[in-house]
Every structure is written in C-alpha cells, then in structure tokens.
C-alpha cells in the first residue's frame, strides 16, 4: 500500500504538534513525568527489589531506608519501594481506562445532545445537570461502598461520576460548531445526520476530546487515591492510596515518614504531570478552550 498524501499531512501535523508541545515548558515537564511513571509501570517486575506483597519477618518491621530496603519497610515488613513501583501500574491503568470510558461516553452524549438540541438534547442535558449537581466524592464513596472493593468497580465509579463534565464541554463545542454555516451547508448538500455528526462535527472536536482525556486521567488517579485512602480500595491490589490507608490506620505514621511520603509524592507528581500536559495541550490546540475550563 502506498502512503496517501492525506496521511502524510496528518503525520506532519502530528509532528508539528509534538514539537510545539516539547517547546512548551509545561508540556515538556508533564511529558517527562508521565514517561517516567510509564517506565516504572511497564518494567515493574525488573525494578522491584522484593515481592511487594510478601510479608517480611518481624525484625524487618518499620525499617528506615537502607541499601537493602531502598525506601524502608512498612508495619508488615513489606518493602515500600517495591510497593511504589507496582502502585504506578494501578494508578496509570485506572487513570487511562477510566479516562477512555469517560471521554467516550461523555463525548457521544455531548455530541448527540448538542447536535439534536430540542427535546432529546434538553432531556440529556437535564440528566447531565443533575449528575453535575451530585457531590462527586460522596457519590463515589457510596457507590464504592455498595458495590464492594475492586479495581473494576473503581473504574466504573469514576466513569459514572465524570462523564457529565465531558458531555457538557463537548456539547457546548458542538452547539457553537452547529451554528457555523458549514454544517447547514453540508445538510443542504444532502449529508445525513450521521455524516454530519461523525464526519463534519467530530473531527472538529477531537482536539478537545484529547485535552479532556488528559484532564480525566488526573481525575481518575485522584479518585482512586482518595477512595483507597478512605479504605474503599481493592485490598488485593497494591496502590499508593492503599499504602497511605494502611499507614494512616496503623497509627505509626508519625514514626515512619518513609512509608508515607513516597506514595504522596508519587500521587502528586503524577497528577501534576498530567495537569501540566493537559494545560499545555489546550494551550496549543484551542486557545479559547482554556478560558472555558478556567485555566
């Protein structure tokens, strides 16, 4: 197959985008942080020092950092560094999966609500408004508590709570695009609703969906951390939030800061990484969009 000129143009645009991203200071920092954690997650089995789930012997309880335990041990004598390494997997997986589900659902609903307006749009938006009115964290806590602790439930909970934001952002974009004459012109030419939605409007909102996904990743990482910290995480998985939960519950937090600070640092740095990346992307792609999001 030969490479079509259209594909080449896309490629060139993508390259242009990345060069702009790297030149943006926030974008560069964000990208570097994310890549660092991706490496951590992918190569976790090679980077860990011991099996993070292995309960150690009692003489190794709450040891401070040493050449053997890089970041010390917790109250069950488990290695903190190895837990941190594996925790990155949970955060990134939940972040990406929840973001994909959220942005997909939210965009679809936003697209339909914006495009069809009228009764359908109004009803969809009332539902969105209603969801936006619900207090996010309590809703997540309640859902997580009722559904029981598992990674999949957390992903589900985060998605169900976050999609309305995306739906709203996409809808407002679609509404303003719909006002543009080219949509009416295409309709007049004879384009079907399906074609209008997915061929005319969608390509124009893709940049925003992209930026929205990045922001949703931060939401999801944050949600996982909080839920786990509050004791609603998956007890069989190792995550940074769970580490904090156990530290907090053990009552030994004040004596073992090496157990507490690394997961906090990881959560914060990873969220900052995605926030910076998201800010940089919106900065580059859609100057007007930033203000809409309050950045």
């Amino acid at each position: 197959m030969t490479i079509s000129p259209r594909f080449l143009r896309r490629l060139k645009k993508l390259r242009e985008f990345f060069s702009l991203l790297v030149r943006n200071r926030m974008g560069l920092v964000g990208l570097a942080i994310i890549i660092l954690f991706l490496i951590l997650a992918i190569f976790a089995p090679f980077l860990r020092t011991v099996n993070p789930t292995k309960v150690g012997t009692s003489k190794n309880i709450l040891l401070s950092p040493s050449p053997q335990f890089w970041l010390g041990t917790d109250d069950l004598a488990k290695d903190v560094w190895s837990q941190i390494v594996y925790g990155s997997r949970i955060s990134l997986a939940i972040g990406f999966l929840a973001a994909i589900i959220t942005v997909f659902t939210g965009s679809l609903i936003g697209l339909i609500a914006g495009f069809y307006g009228g009764k359908i749009g109004e009803i969809l938006m009332r539902i969105v408004d209603f969801f936006m009115m619900l207090p996010m964290l309590p809703l997540m806590i309640v859902l997580a508590a009722v559904l029981g602790p598992s990674i999949w439930n957390i992903i589900f909970v985060v998605s169900i709570v976050s999609w309305p934001t995306t739906a709203r952002v996409i809808r407002s974009q679609v509404l303003s695009l719909k006002e543009r004459t080219f949509i009416e012109a295409s309709r007049c030419i004879g384009a079907s609703d399906f074609l209008l939605m997915f061929n005319e409007i969608l390509p124009n909102v893709v940049p925003i969906m992209f930026a929205e996904s990045v922001l949703m990743v931060t939401e999801a990482i944050y949600a996982e951390a909080v839920l786990s910290f509050l004791g609603l995480g998956d007890p069989t998985a190792i995550s940074w939030g769970m580490m904090l939960h156990f530290a907090f519950e053990s009552g030994t937090m004040g004596k073992a800061f090496w157990w507490v600070l690394p997961p906090i640092a990881c959560i914060v740095i990873l969220i900052i990484g995605f926030t910076f990346l998201g800010t940089a992307i919106t900065d580059i792609l859609e100057p007007g969009y930033k203000e809409a999001h309050g950045f």
Partner: protein, 340 residues
C-alpha cells in the same frame, strides 16, 4: 392558482413560518399563551426558468428564513412549495435528497460555510460522494478540476490542497458556488452571497452568479439587504417587510417607480458612492420592531409610515396588481398616487 406555467421552476403558495418566543421548556409550561414571531407570513410568488428574483429587506424581515424554508432547512408552519410541479414540503427524506441535486443554496458567510478541516478538493469530493455522482477516481478528479475552472479558481493546482483558512473571502465564496454547481442544480437560493465580501471582489462573485444563470439556465432567488447589488443581478425584485412581501415588480420598475412607502424609504436610504449627492433625511420614523406586538389586522408598516391613516390601522392591505407586473400591498396606493 393551480394552472401550471411550463417555464416556472418554483412556486411558493401561502408560505408561513412562525417561531415561538421563549423556547425554554419551563416557559412553555408556565405561561399559558404562546407567542410567535411571524418570520414569514403568508408569502406567495413564483420563479421562472433562468430568472433571478431578488428579495430585499432589512435584517429581521424574514428573507433568510424564507430562503431556508424553501430548501427545507427549516420546516414551515404551513404553505406549499412546488419545484417544477413537485410539492417539496411533503417529500420524504429520501426523495428530498434527490431533489437536493436540483435545488441548492449559497450561504452568506464565506468564512464559516466550509469545513475548516477539509481542503478545497475534499470539500467538493464530499458532495460527489454523497450523491454518488461518478463511478471512478479518475472521473472524480476530472469533475473537480472542471468545476474549479468553472468558478474561476485558476490555476486549479494552486487551490486544490488549500485549507479554507488560507483563502480570501471571494475565493471561499467561489468554492461554495463550486460545491453547489457540481450537482448541476436548476435552482439556487443565494443568501446575501456578497455582503461579507470586500467591495473589490463583490462584482466578481455577482458576475459568477450571472454566468451560472446564462450558461446553465439556473434560476436564482437572490436574498439581500442591498438594493444596489440586487439591481445589478436581479430581473425582478420583491421587497419584504416583517414577513410579508409589500411590493414586487421588474427591477427597473422598483428602482424608478416604487409604489410602497417602505420601498421609497429604502431606495432613498441606499448610499450612493458620489460625494456630490447630498444626504436628506428619511420620511420614515421609528425602528423596526421584531416582537409580535402588532395587531394582526393592521398594516405592518403602519407605525412608521408617513402617510398612515386610520384605515391602515384597521385593515391589512392585500398584495394587489398596480401596473402590469407590478404588485403592491398598500391601501393608499390608488388614491394617493399623486402624493408619491
């Protein structure tokens, strides 16, 4: 009324389009009475083959809504529209699509009417695909090339891969014309096609429309607020005021012998590019009001008319024949002819 004229392309009968005021769900539940803006109110006319009929009026007079209703981009409240004898309003979606090859529209905003993420060739290709106009890739390329030449985007290669953001208003409007022309339509609604263009390129686009008419026999409805450009392209002109046609006649008759006081005001308001001509004040008063506070049984121009009598308030004037092809909707027309 039903008698069919063979060279008639479009016939519109009693077309009405009312928009409810305050569209919100709540408002319609809690306020009992429904209020409407009568954007198009009982309009009838016909367009002959190869004719350019102008619709002139101020913004808010309903001319754009009327144009969009004819193409069913807006569903009318009531009325009938015939394209060569086929009733358009009752057509199914599928039949409508095939009719779209014959009836088309050129929009006002050249910068907004093309998808910014599509090149010129891709825009035309989209039209070809929707209507499956050709069978092979090669034919497609030839057709696009021919069309671009037709709308004078030459040399074609220079425009082929350009995104709309890199073209000027006049060039964009030519692409829009090309996208429509590729379907070989018989009838086009041109909604203010030059009002957003620079003066230096306006005439170029108007000439393109005239050539499309002369070469392919396409009929046009030319919607504008500018009597001067209407005079340049139109065979006949209809003057609209608040949803109604108040006067319709051959172009030169409208310009030189306007019968309706509103038409007269419009004509004297048109700026003339000649510094030796002095501005005089208009006989017209007040502002155009868009709300539906008018009593339906009075002349709509009554509040602003310098010649208004009590009778104008009580009676809505019908559109009557003044001279051979000259129709006007004014009660005072006959008796006050001398006044004008």
């Amino acid at each position: 009324m039903k008698e069919k004229n063979n060279n008639e392309v479009l016939r519109v009968e009693n077309l009405k389009k009312y928009f409810p005021v305050g569209k919100s769900l709540f408002a319609s539940i809690f306020s009992g009475k429904e209020e409407y803006v009568r954007a198009v109110d009982d309009v009838s006319f016909s367009v002959k083959e190869g004719e350019i009929l102008g619709f002139v009026g101020e913004s808010g007079c309903g001319k754009t809504t009327m144009g969009r209703t004819i193409l069913r981009l807006v569903e009318p409240t009531s009325g009938k529209i015939y394209y060569k004898g086929t009733e358009v309003i009752s057509l199914s979606k599928k039949r409508l699509k095939s009719l779209r090859r014959r009836m088309q529209m050129i929009f006002q905003d050249p910068y907004g009417s093309l998808n910014p993420r599509r090149t010129v060739a891709e825009t035309l290709r989209q039209t070809i695909k929707i209507h499956k106009l050709v069978n092979s890739k090669a034919e497609e390329e030839t057709l696009i090339k021919k069309t671009l030449e037709e709308v004078e985007l030459k040399p074609v290669g220079e425009f082929w891969d350009k995104y709309p953001g890199f073209l000027s208003g006049g060039q964009l409007q030519r692409v829009s014309a090309g996208r429509v022309l590729i379907l070989q339509p018989k009838f086009i609604v041109a909604d203010e096609p030059v009002s957003m263009l620079d003066v230096s390129v306006r005439v170029g686009v108007l000439d393109l429309l005239l050539r499309m008419r002369n070469k392919f026999g396409i009929s046009f409805i030319y919607i504008t607020h500018d009597l001067a450009t209407a005079r340049y392209v139109c065979d006949r002109i209809a003057i609209m005021y608040l949803g109604k046609i108040v006067e319709i006649a051959q172009t030169e008759d409208i310009i030189n012998k306007p019968l309706h006081p509103y038409t007269q005001a419009l004509i004297s308001a048109v700026p003339v590019p000649d510094p030796t001509v002095k501005i005089h004040d208009l006989p017209i008063k007040g502002y155009l009001s868009l709300t539906s506070d008018l009593v339906s049984s009075s002349c709509r121009f009554y509040p602003r008319c310098p010649y208004a009598t009590k009778k104008c308030h009580e009676e809505e004037p019908p559109l009557v024949q003044g001279e051979r092809d000259h129709y006007v909707a004014c009660i005072n027309y006959r008796k006050s002819k001398s006044v004008y």
